[in-house]
Amino acid sequence: MIGERFRIGFLPLVDAALPILAHELGFAAREGFALELVRDMTWATVRDRLLYGHTDAAHMIAPLAIATTLGRDRPPVPLAVPFVLGLNGNAVTFSTRLAGEVGLGDTLGDPLAIGAALKRVATARVAAGKPLRFGVVHRYSSHNYMLRYWLAGVGVRPDQDVEIIVTSPPFAADALAAGDVDGICVGEPWNSIAVERGVGHIALATAQIWRRGVEKVLAIRETVLDERREAVEALVRALHAAAGHFVEPGAAEESAAILARPEYLDAPQDAILRAITDRIRLVPGGEPIHYPDFMFQYREAANFPWRSQAAWLYSQMVRWDYMAFDAAGAAAAGKVFRPDVYRAALAGSGAPLPGASSKLEGGLAEPIGAGSTQGRLTLGSDRFFDGRAFDPDDIEAYLAELP
């Protein structure tokens, strides 16, 4: 392990916290390796650096790791995900004008009620020949899939009733300000920055759409994982330790101060602190409201890469790339997530290790004890806003039922 070094690519987002803190607070050094963080502004650049060895690992939107493995729009390169960097932490923000038309209140509303109001506005805008337009951070992002899941679920058909385009996170607030889009779905602190600039109102936290939605992952080339298996396991341990520290109540201030630095997020420290502590300011000048689980980390084995999460993302890829379901593709997507590496890395550490690698997603209304091979594991409610559950073993039936 001596002399091992990982270069990790990232985008300036709050959920890049774990690799940054693992570096800054010595969790990497304690595992005997060095970290170097490589900051970029687009996911395309993060991906290219990973594929061509400029970086050894990357902070990445989960669907992009799957799309890259499957070779969507490019020759396939197999990626592996041994660790989930966090759940949720994103929001849907409307332009001030759309917020007024929909009648957003100053608390987080009900996704169904907001959806019904949005449907009225969207229909009127289609009739007027100026359909609403939303920006998401990437075609292959959980933001795109969460937004579309919600829209379709409230009767607003993506690509027909509303347009969905791409705006990279650092430019999402600008797009809202310029009137290029009527809404954005992006990670923090970029929603808060839009609110602070007076150009947007936060309508929903993505956690309201899927209470335990998988967000960024640690992506590594499969060949690099095989060649540097021991070092990758040390990296997983360091990130897990960083996650444990991140959720300690006394740690938030320091974490926010580190993340705010110019070499990391280069963003206001108080907005970052609010995101970390699940408090969000919905309207300009408003009091931040507390929404538990806005950004979910560490607890309930949140960093465990469930294959069923990858399977859900694949189901949405089939749905929104308008392609046919393919059992081989589904299997390949599921295999991107590597619970085996996570378990091997944390064996003997006391961290709860789920016994299963896959679960019913969205099936829990109440916290429940779950089978584990190590430690005690409780899983909290993981509901989708429409109450549907996803069975990873029957993706086709699930897809057939979706609107």
Partner: protein
């Protein structure tokens, strides 16, 4: 073969297009970085797109390529695994490329190679400019320090320079560092006698 060049640096874009033109590739479209990107690319209908790796519009552009019905065939990035080395060199140089699917490798490779060389040349040029700028700044600081020494110690210029040089050699530092220290301390304590 129509090539579109998208670059946040208009100087580098000009350097690349000059190179391509010299090589006989003159069906070039320079995309204006201040204008609407997608509309320009759509109108240009390029077969090859060269773009700087760190261009902030790449996610948007890739989404357009994936969605586009306007182009006859989908555009994919130039990442044939057999060419990993060449593509790696492009990424190292800071250039990324998209090509119409099915375009022959023999036709694309010279374009990419040329873009890589031009990107490298541009980086070299920029480094040289930076060095020149730094050298100028250093000269100015050394001149200032010499003037301070001449005035304070009542010595001539060669003697002032010899003092600076001697101190630099004894302390194993650069002359400009010594000079900077003198200028800084003069600014802070020059009026103390």
């Amino acid at each position: 073969m129509r090539i579109a060049i998208i670059d946040t640096s208009t100087t580098r874009a000009a350097i690349i297009s000059d190179g391509l033109r010299e090589a006989g590739l003159d069906d070039l479209i320079l995309i204006d970085p201040a204008g609407p990107l997608v509309a320009q690319v759509e109108a240009a209908k390029p077969e090859v797109v060269l773009i700087n790796l760190e261009n902030p519009s790449r996610d948007l552009l890739e989404d357009f390529f994936a969605m586009s019905r306007a182009l006859a065939r989908p555009i994919a990035m130039f990442v044939d695994q057999s060419d990993a080395e060449a593509t790696g060199a492009a990424i190292d140089a800071g250039v990324s490329a998209y090509v119409v699917d099915g375009l022959s490798k023999q036709r694309i490779k010279p374009v990419i190679d040329l873009a890589v060389r031009r990107f490298q040349a541009f980086s070299r040029l920029q480094r040289e400019l930076d060095d020149a700028r730094n050298a100028l700044a250093e000269r100015a600081v050394i001149d200032k320090a010499k003037a301070i020494l001449m005035k304070r110690r009542q010595i001539d210029e060669p003697a002032a320079y010899a003092l600076l040089r001697g101190q630099a050699m004894r302390t194993n530092r650069r002359i400009s560092e010594i000079a900077e220290a003198i200028v800084t301390s003069e600014a802070l304590m020059g009026d103390m006698e």
